[in-house]
C-alpha cells in the first residue's frame, strides 16, 4: 500500500495513539499531584471524617487509579466531562463559552504569522540589502520582546494613546470580536512571526543558490517563474513544517495574551483552574490542548507530503 490515503491513515492512527498516551500522562500526573481533592470539594471547611468519607465515596476517590482513569476517559469519550470542583458548573459549558474566543485568537495569530512572517522572510531574501536589513532589525526586536512586554507596549500605544483598539474584553459578534482580538493576536504572534520570518529567509536564500535554481536560470526560465516554481515552491515544505509546529504551539501559549487583554478564553481558564486546583477542568483542558496540537501537526504533515511527495516514500522506506 502506498500513496496519500495510506499516509493519512497512518497519521490518524498515530495521532489517536498520541492523544491516548497524553490522556494517561495528564490524568496520572494530576492524580499524583499533592493535595486532597476531597478537602477541596468540601470547600475548605473543616469536616468530620465521616463527611469526607462520604464525599470520597460519591466521587469514587477511593477506587484504584486505573479504575478512576478508565471512568474519566470513558466519560470524556462519551461527552460527560464532569463538573468543575470549584465553580460547580459542567466543564463542557465552561469550555464551550471560551472555546470560540481562543480558536479565533489562534486563527488570527496564525494568519499574522503565516502571512507577515512568510512575506517578510521572502522580502528579506530577495528584496535586496535595504529590505534585508530592515526585516532583520525588526525581527530581532520582535524575537527579543516577550509576549507580556509586547502586550504592555501595544496597550499603551494603540489602546490608551491612539484609542484604535479596546483595552480589555472579548467583544460580542464576529466583527467586534476581531476588533477586540487584534492587539492580543499581535502580542501573541510577534515572537513567532519573527521566528518564521527568519526561517523563511534562510530557506529561500538556500534555494536561491541551489544547483537546480542555477540550472533553471541557465535554461532561460523567466525570473518570476524561477522564484515561484523553483525557489518558493521548494522552500514551502520546510517553512510550512516550522510554521505548523509554531501555530500548534499557540494553543498552549494563549494564556499570557488572554490574561493581559482580559480575553475570556481557554488559556486564562487553564491558568485560573490550575491556581484553584480545579483538577477536573485542568485535565480536560490539557487533553484538549494536546489534541489541538497533534491535529494541527497532522494537517501540516499531510500538506507537506502533498507539497513534497518524497516524504511519502521516505516514511515507507524508514
Amino acid at each position: 500500500m502506498t500513496g496519500l490515503p495510506w499516509f493519512v491513515g497512518r497519521k490518524l492512527v498515530a495521532m489517536l495513539g498520541t492523544v491516548l498516551v497524553a490522556s494517561f500522562v495528564i490524568y496520572g500526573a494530576l492524580y499524583l499531584a499533592p493535595g486532597d481533592p476531597a478537602g477541596l470539594l468540601a470547600g475548605g471547611h473543616e469536616m468530620s471524617p465521616a463527611a469526607l468519607a462520604a464525599i470520597r465515596a460519591q466521587y469514587h476517590l477511593d477506587d484504584p487509579f486505573l479504575v478512576q482513569y478508565w471512568r474519566w476517559l470513558s466519560g470524556v469519550l462519551t461527552g460527560h466531562l464532569g463538573d468543575s470542583m470549584v465553580v460547580k458548573e459542567p466543564v463542557g459549558s465552561l469550555i464551550g463559552a471560551r472555546l470560540v474566543n481562543t480558536v479565533l485568537l489562534v486563527a488570527y495569530a496564525a494568519m499574522l504569522i503565516l502571512g507577515l512572517g512568510v512575506l517578510s522572510g521572502i522580502l528579506a531574501a530577495v528584496g535586496g540589502k535595504v529590505a534585508d536589513a530592515a526585516v532583520t532589525v525588526t525581527t530581532t526586536v520582535l524575537m527579543a520582546a516577550p509576549a507580556f512586554v509586547a502586550a504592555i507596549v501595544l496597550i499603551w500605544i494603540f489602546a490608551t494613546k491612539l484609542s484604535w483598539f479596546p483595552v480589555y474584553g472579548s467583544g460580542t459578534g464576529f466583527g467586534d470580536r476581531i476588533h477586540h482580538l487584534t492587539l492580543p493576536a499581535i502580542a501573541l504572534s510577534a515572537g513567532y512571526l519573527a521566528y518564521v520570518s527568519r526561517i523563511t529567509r534562510a530557506e529561500v536564500r538556500a534555494e536561491l543558490t541551489s544547483d537546480h535554481v542555477v540550472a533553471a536560470r541557465a535554461r532561460g526560465v523567466r525570473r518570476w517563474a524561477v522564484l515561484r516554481k523553483h525557489v518558493l515552491r521548494n522552500a514551502a515544505a520546510p517553512v510550512l513544517a516550522v510554521s505548523g509546529i509554531t501555530v500548534a504551539g499557540l494553543f498552549a501559549g494563549t494564556a499570557i495574551a488572554e490574561q493581559a487583554f482580559g480575553v475570556s478564553g481557554l488559556g486564562s481558564l487553564l491558568v485560573q483552574s490550575a491556581a484553584r486546583q480545579d483538577l477536573v477542568v485542568v485535565q480536560v483542558l490539557a487533553l484538549l490542548l494536546v489534541a489541538a496540537f497533534v491535529l494541527v501537526n497532522m494537517l501540516v504533515d499531510v500538506a507537506n507530503a502533498v507539497l513534497d511527495p518524497r516524504l511519502l516514500r521516505a516514511r515507507e522506506a524508514g
Binding site: 537546480h212 535554461r219 518524497r310 516514500r313
Partner: protein
C-alpha cells in the same frame, strides 16, 4: 567556416581585498556550427567557468574583459531579455549532476515542457514534443515517465531527461559540463552515445567539458586543453596522440591508464594542479613543466598554430 561561438581573449577577474585575482587568464577558442569541441583539463582549470560565460552566468562581482561572441554578438552586451532568449533558444546546458540540477519536487513533464510553455506552446503540444524526444533517445513508457518525479528515476535515466530538455529547445549549441561524471561507468557510455548521436542528427554544435581525455576524443572533432585559466593547446581529436606538442598535453597523455603496460605504475603530472590565481606570471605551466626554461617564467607565450609554448614556437 564562420564561428558560431567565439571566445576572444576572455579574461575574468574577481575583486578581492588584495586586488583583483584572475579566474580565467586568457581564453581564445572558436566553435563552428555543428562542430564538437572538447574542453579538457584538471579540476579548477576554469573549464566550467568558460562554459558558464557563454550563458552570461559568471560569478557575482566578477569583471570580464575580452569577449564571448555568439553568432557575432557579444554576450556581455546583452540585456536581460536578450540573455534569456539566448539561454532558452540558442544555447542549452547539461550539468554534471542531474540529481542536483533538476528540481526534486516537480515532475519530469513539468521540467521538460517548462521552457517550451514559456515560449507560448500549448501544454499538449509541449508534452507531445518532449515525449517525442524522449522516445528518440530510447525512453519507454512515456506517459508514465512524464508523471514521475526525479527521485523515481535512476541517475542515467534522469540525465537522459536533462539531455532531452536541452534538445527540446532546438538550440544551436549544447554546453555539456562533465555530463557523465556523476553517473556509474556503464551508464556513462550510454548517455554520451545518446548525446553524440542526437547532436550529430540535429547538426547541433557541442562544447564538451571533461577531464577524461579518451571520452572527449571519442565524441569531439577538436580538443582544447586548458590549464590554470588558459587554453594551452588546441588540436584535432583524431591527432591528439601523435601531434600533442605542449608539455602539459604530453604529460596528460602519459598519465592515462592505457599508456603503460598493466602492472606498472602510472605516470603522473609532477606537482599539484593550479588554478588561475596561483599560476606563475609567465607561462601558466612553468612551475610543473619538465622542460622549463628561464624565458617561460617571465613571458606569457601566445597561442599560435594551436599551441601556447615558447619552446614549440622557437
Amino acid at each position: 567556416m564562420s564561428a558560431l561561438l567565439e571566445f576572444d581573449r576572455l579574461r575574468v577577474e574577481i575583486p578581492t581585498p588584495v586586488g583583483p585575482r584572475p579566474l580565467l587568464r586568457s581564453v581564445s577558442l572558436s566553435v563552428a556550427a555543428g562542430e564538437a569541441v572538447g574542453l579538457v583539463g584538471e579540476s579548477g582549470s576554469g573549464k566550467s567557468m568558460t562554459a558558464r560565460s557563454v550563458l552570461g552566468m559568471l560569478p557575482g562581482g566578477s569583471v570580464a574583459t575580452g569577449a564571448v561572441r555568439f553568432r557575432g554578438v557579444d554576450i556581455g552586451g546583452l540585456d536581460p531579455a536578450g540573455l534569456r532568449r539566448l539561454r532558452s533558444r540558442d544555447v542549452a546546458m547539461v550539468f554534471q549532476d542531474p540529481r542536483a540540477s533538476v528540481n526534486p519536487v516537480r515532475t519530469v513533464g513539468d521540467f521538460l515542457t517548462e521552457v517550451l510553455r514559456e515560449r507560448g506552446m500549448s501544454r499538449a503540444a509541449a508534452r507531445e514534443k518532449a515525449g517525442g524526444i524522449l522516445a528518440d533517445i530510447g525512453v519507454d513508457r512515456l506517459a508514465h515517465r512524464l508523471k514521475q518525479r526525479p527521485y523515481e528515476l535512476s541517475g542515467g535515466m534522469l540525465q537522459r531527461v536533462v539531455i532531452a530538455a536541452a534538445l527540446a529547445g532546438e538550440p544551436a549549441l549544447i554546453l555539456a559540463d562533465e555530463p557523465t561524471t556523476a553517473l556509474d561507468v556503464t551508464t556513462q557510455e550510454e548517455v554520451v552515445a545518446i548525446l553524440d548521436e542526437q547532436r550529430r542528427q540535429r547538426g547541433t554544435a557541442l562544447l564538451f567539458i571533461s577531464h577524461d581525455l579518451e571520452l572527449a576524443t571519442a565524441v569531439c572533432d577538436r580538443i582544447a586543453v586548458m590549464y590554470a585559466g588558459e587554453i594551452v593547446e588546441i588540436l584535432p581529436a583524431a591527432r591528439l596522440h601523435e601531434d600533442a606538442r605542449h608539455p602539459y598535453t604530453k604529460a596528460l597523455l602519459k598519465a592515462r591508464p592505457g599508456s603503460v603496460p598493466p602492472g606498472e605504475r602510472l605516470q603522473t603530472v609532477p606537482g599539484v594542479p593550479q588554478s588561475a590565481i596561483d599560476a606563475p606570471a609567465g607561462c601558466v605551466f612553468a612551475d610543473r613543466c619538465p622542460v622549463v626554461e628561464p624565458l617561460c617564467r617571465d613571458t606569457i607565450p601566445v597561442l599560435t598554430a594551436g599551441v601556447a609554448c615558447h619552446l614549440e614556437v622557437s
